[in-house]
Symmetry: D2
Subunit: 308 residues, 4 copies
């Protein structure tokens, strides 16, 4: 196979082409969420038949080679200790989490990625200060991201347990997965791509993901644009490491978030969803993503729910 | 009107009666979530018609008389500063939040309330240690709480802007609200009761909610049991302050969470949902609550989504 | 009495005059710490006679009108719970603190205050990024600030319990306190000025300090320069509120930290030190300030120790 | 050499013997700090001759194999951004730190270690709850720990760069170091033992210290008792890993903190102090340890200062 990488020049041209296609005007701040029309959303509810729900998030992770700054949950009250109020006692706790990182399931807001000094739709990077993002924060998705979800399972297509770190998925392979799974990704869909990242982590243990990670080839960004995908989730962070583009780390983050205005969902888990889809005999479902209300925030921990 | 309070003796008898009705056996850890059967959940999807979604959470609050230990969001990377990776830069942040408290929208897990040394279904309070809750943690709801949501709007019924702190709602008034709104709360429903708490806070400013707060009368717990409600949310924390029960602070927390196994949602906001319901001409909707995956956790910040 | 305030013009002239006096050159980053010569430090050890030590810090404060974002200490291990190591168990905890604020005792680094776009000695404000201060951070004081401490007690001079919020101390009054206490502030001394702020807080309860606070008159900055004081501590934050200077909040912070290069110590407590000085019959002592090693940090919580 | 380990039986006998020697009675909560009499403290000031100060703390560490839950410092205000007050702007930050751990320099309070259900002097482990330690917290050392410090440099004695992980120092070797350095540890001294741990970390990089660490042999506890040492610091945590005692992890923590009432200082750094001692031609100095005021706390990050 020839070199799968992409030159900086081609990357830049692709970026310009994709971002030039936006039909929503200079004031738009919702990006690809615009693909979720009321009609599409209402139709997505028709995916609910079995009356079953499945989490797509992984539990809060502890320290590991891919989690050097782990979140924490500390107890502040224990119910077996004397209570400070009459007749009842409480258990309570406090959480601390970095919103991004390489293990905990989270969503990236459109302010997360700056390329050539600008965020999505040309918003200057300087709108993000130490107080937070004055524009394009995760609170723009406060009403949730709800639509038809579709899961494409690449290891299933390849007949392997998982993609090895460094491997990537092309647009052609996404289309092949659609055919194999007898599904088709369409306008307003929330696309989830399973690479097996988390299964590898569960079975072989964590590794230094920042250096070596399976992901999507930058050419998939054209597929995302054509299909009018509204959001993209992955069990890695969608970006291959090392980068497939010379001089640009995280090209998928740039193309998806910054050029296309796609909210990205990173480090999801699909081992609950896959058997549920198999049992249901289909790979689509109603999907609800409910970010915390963090005005100014660059994203949020999330627990996306698939409803079949 | 006669004294609306409840004696400790009557409260205790009510507690015992309610908790004795559980049909799910000693090993049950899901409580009232059991009311959400697959058939009811699938039927709830039929509530989606307009293809519109609405948040029921309030934005992360800053310090105030009702928020003495506010959560925080701090930036860890600013995109306008030199990047540590090639060709792209990021905005990132970190959050710290107490899971409970009197402002931020959150869900209480079944481990949250201990009464007479035990949690829901007789689980000993000692299962909660400094590591977290070994049983009944919020991760038991990891697949989300999804069902038909119903909003009962008490200020609307009364023709007032809000209930004043200290006022309460009886079971009879919940039933009156159902009639006035031409809706009926049934098995597996997620019930939301609007007291106007947050509207008062927005208009008149925060006050010391811990001392003075509108809520539900303990007799509503019988209503919740009869109607087989699966979860209960409120724009206060459902409990009147001062307490209506002698010697027991938070009687609704005890009855709902501990006796009935109801997940409670505290300090929601309904000013987005009310006009959406009015526009739709009905007070029911598909509702999705997606707690973060916090194993051992006593609850989670949440953003419940109504889908109409 | 005539208006005690200072015009913006006079303030600016004072600022320029003071900052022009620095004898340490453009590369200096230690500021007034340069006044602590080895000889002066060695002489200060002669203050130790009684063999007694006294804290000048207050305990970590909880939420209050002057502490809207309180620090916290959460337990992470309890020794009465089963241990994860053989034969022994541990108590452990985690702390979270904002370094500055209006209650907890802390030290301000020289990077803390920017005036007209620059920090101390003309260092551009831009050296402080989301990663921290590349110059003038608190780690520049990593070897501690050790010298002769002198406490001037203004309420004692005035015969009052405390200065009321809004009141201020002039350079003339500092000199009067020296005479009354038969002491004299000299080169390299660490000067502590008691206003009674914390005693008022203890006796009458906390108030909104950000709006109303006793402090020093800007003319004391000339006194600090003449006497070659090496660091300045106060039981408020040294600055009067409302500000005595038109259009400049925190003029003492600007003059002391930014113009003179003085590390400022805010919200100390002196109710342990006053009786110790009375018992010793003198108001000077060896003083040791040991900031935590926080590279890039804007200051540190501290517990200054007086040794008599 | 014969097996250097200690049986559980011998360890337990040693523990009982040491703890039985306490002359301070059942109500004592200061432990070995009682050895610091006013006369000894005043005499220690005589160690100050050169007028030079040196830190014994290391900078806040980032994530590493020995630092799986690193502390953090986040900016909350940047001075180059628009200010929220007139005429001046500020840099400010927030810190989060686990008090213990295997890298950051800290002090252990007497509540830190429970052995056979009790803390120092038989205080029941249950005094430590989720609110903190009701007794024996670090705030008992609020007035600082001040006395004569003595540094014993074991790699210097052995002529090596550092002790390898797993190696240990006996009481005999401490005495040998005293002779070689022409110093003698006496009543009320703060003893610091350099193992070269931090130099190894700096030169060869961090490793999993929890599994493999140089430390002191449990027989040194008798030396500490005989010499009436008031506090003990080390560049590791004083305990060898793997443990030298069957079935008891951290035997030095048990003997020093729990039996002798010694505050332990862990993970100090001595590479600034060693050359300062060499330059001064002696290994003793005035030492000031100033824990933060954390009532209920199990310890504190610290920056011990040596004054020569």
């Amino acid at each position: 196979m020839s070199d799968p990488g992409m030159s900086a020049t081609r990357f830049h041209a692709l970026y310009e082409r994709l971002r030039g296609q936006s039909p929503w005007g200079a004031a738009d701040r919702r990006g690809a969420l615009n693909h979720i029309t009321p009609a599409r959303l209402a139709a997505a509810a028709g995916e609910v038949r079995a009356g079953r729900t499945v989490t797509m998030a992984a539990p809060l992770a502890s320290s590991a080679p891919d989690n050097p700054e782990p979140g924490a949950r500390h107890m502040t009250r224990l119910p077996a200790e004397p209570s400070d109020v009459p007749g009842v006692s409480f258990a309570a706790d406090q959480i601390t989490m970095n919103v991004h990182g390489d293990v905990d399931s989270h969503i990236d807001a459109l302010c997360h990625v700056s390329y050539e000094g600008a965020l999505y739709n040309g918003v200057p990077a300087g709108v993000v200060t130490s107080r937070g993002a004055a524009e394009l924060s995760i609170d723009d998705a406060r009403n949730g991201i709800v639509g038809r979800g579709v899961l494409l399972d690449i290891p299933r297509l390849r007949g392997v347990g998982w993609l090895e770190p460094g491997e990537h998925v092309t647009a052609a392979e996404l289309a092949a997965a659609e055919r194999a799974q007898q599904t088709r990704v369409g306008p307003g869909d929330l696309l989830f791509v399973r690479l097996g990242h988390r299964r590898r982590r569960d079975e072989d243990g964590p590794w230094e993901v920042a250096r070596s990670r399976a992901g999507l080839h930058p050419d998939t960004a054209e597929y995302l644009a054509e299909r009018q995908v509204a959001a993209l989730g992955c069990d890695s962070n969608s970006d291959t490491a090392p980068s497939l583009v010379d001089g640009v780390a995280f090209p998928m983050h740039v193309l998806a978030i910054n050029a296309l205005g796609l909210h990205l969902l990173d480090y999801l888990q699909f081992h609950d969803l896959v058997p549920a889809c198999e049992a249901a005999g289909r790979w689509s479902f109603l999907c609800v993503i409910a970010p915390l209300r963090l005005p100014g925030g660059t994203g949020s921990p999330v627990n996306p729910i698939a409803i079949l």
